[in-house]
Symmetry: C2
Subunit: 144 residues, 2 copies
């Protein structure tokens, strides 16, 4: 089947999954839109963060390329917290600490593109958290 | 800059380009959202087809992975014509003939994911057009 219909932020024949196994997060689901192929070795996912929820604060060597599809919120990339809304693009460079938080009164749904072969996310240890918290804006934002 | 703002179906620092050089098409623009990188070797583009316009009827070995972001229309993939609308997913398999047409009264904007290294599109010759036209629905749809 070439076309998979969209309805209510679900896609035909795409299961709704838990966000992930490791790391703290709140109210996040995952749908894998494209599993990748030898000729297009990427995984394309849709994550949805419920109002007030957040993804895991983490970093990894592989890039993320993100497009907001629904709602609004804020994200941390490196040491910068940005307000994000529909169709904004977010590039998460290699080894940048990052976290996505939905607004309190709106979900945050986003497409996320990653390489099919990628390293495992790293969680911050006490020294890394202390370094992140040097910046008051970041300290107030993160949910480790 | 990690975040590129979206406004009016344009993204900050993303130029609006002509669709392509070769092959017949009508009313199509292109924006390259992500150029690809050694660790994520894909190109992520946004194409917008004006009301009544169409992309090129073509095929190639590389896969396309498409998500409709705006408007509505129809597409041919292989021998099937489908009505498509916002957030529907379209997978264009290797060597499938394909063409996207916007509705007469609405644009059709879509995200399109391809491998950074890919073969050149092929246009249909007279024999291939005759084969495509065997199916009346396809004959009525295509704009070669």
């Amino acid at each position: 089947m070439s076309v998979r219909r969209f309805e209510g932020f679900r896609w035909e024949d795409v299961p709704l999954l838990a966000y992930k196994d490791g790391g703290p997060y709140k109210g996040v689901t995952r749908q894998v839109l494209f599993e990748g192929d030898a000729s297009l070795p990427v995984q394309w996912r849709y994550f949805e963060v419920a109002p007030g929820g957040h993804s895991t604060l983490e970093r990894h060597e592989h890039l993320h390329y993100v497009l907001i599809l629904k709602g609004r919120g804020r994200c941390l990339v490196g040491e910068t917290v940005s307000v994000i809304g529909e169709h904004d693009l977010v590039e998460v460079p290699s080894l940048a600490w990052h976290q996505f938080r939905a607004a309190g009164d709106a979900p945050l749904g986003f497409l996320c593109l990653v390489s099919a072969s990628r390293d495992k996310p790293q969680l911050p240890g006490p020294a890394e958290l202390a370094a992140l918290r040097q910046k008051p804006e970041v300290a107030a934002f993160i949910r480790p």
